[in-house]
């Protein structure tokens, strides 16, 4: 059952996102103290497997969570239905996953 599966994926990813987002928030707060620079960010993240795993997980969870939410919003607020909507939001998920993993690569390798 597609709806039940999507529901499971969305709630599971939401639960996973709670600690990840809190960590990211704390990180942002800590990082912007005294201004941000590429050197500072990359100095933290480059070659660090822990950060790579953290952001990799983050990207994966978001790439599941956001498209499902978007699908609901589009269904309910625009009347877009059916296969084309499923594929469009799946595409958005793939885009997030692709760009996200590329970003993780960029800052950790």
């Amino acid at each position: 059952m597609l709806e039940a599966r999507l529901y499971l994926l969305q709630r599971a990813s939401a639960m996973l996102l709670v600690p990840l987002l809190l960590a990211h928030l704390v990180m942002i707060l800590y990082a912007i103290e005294g201004g941000l620079s590429a050197a500072e960010i990359l100095g933290r993240t480059r070659g660090n497997l822990l950060w790579a795993a953290f952001y990799g997980l983050f990207v994966t969870a978001v790439a599941m969570h956001a498209p499902i939410g978007l699908r609901n919003i589009l269904r309910e607020w625009t009347g877009w239905r059916g296969r084309s909507l499923d594929f469009a939001t799946l595409g958005f998920g793939a885009l997030l996953l692709g760009l996200g993993l590329r970003a993780v690569l960029a800052v950790t390798v």
Partner: protein
Amino acid sequence: MQDTADREEMLTVEIWRGREDGALQTYRVPRRESQTVLDVVTWVQRNEEPALAYRFACRVGMCGSCAMQVNGKPRWTCRTHVSRVAENGLLRIEPLANLPRIKDLATDMAPFFEKWQGARGRHEPTRTRHEPMAPVSSESPARKAANAGIECINCAVCYAACDVVGWDENYLGPAALNRAWTLANDERDADKAGLLQAVSQSGGCHSCHSHGSCVEHCPVGLNPTAGIAGLKRMTLAALMKGEL
């Protein structure tokens, strides 16, 4: 100061006339003590507008046939006192939202009841009438969960209050899903798997966003949001066991 003894206090009442393309029409209705919104509509029908179409039966909050939008909110009109809902002596009475309009205050309730069927809202018995009655403990958690939801009077107030019903024509809605939840907790029901499948279709329990408008408006104080959340958990458990 106005002396109510010689000058009758009046309500300004706007009532929807016609079908989808109708209009509000204004009436002046005398204010009475302990007056309900249904009393107001009845007064208009008897004194001003004999052709006014509306529904009611029991007048005591049992049958669920008298629901209308009153000043923008769905209400059971026979148990709604004017004193609680009139805003500066003004009442705006319209047909129940989210349902096709037939005439004036009467809506077509067919989609509402069809969705009860869609949610597999009818009991599938485990026994025939020739067998003894199934013993059901009133103390079991499942029975308690079912009991919390069985007093529904099918008034469609929750259905009119729910935004998702208005946004998604497939959405089964709070009343039908609440009914499914009571059956899912009924030990005497024979087809749990079929029920969980019915509420997992597109437009089933997973479409509910827990807005809580149904709880907010249900006149008998039921909590469809909690029941739907229960269905969500039950379908997840079935999904993970590979039974969905």
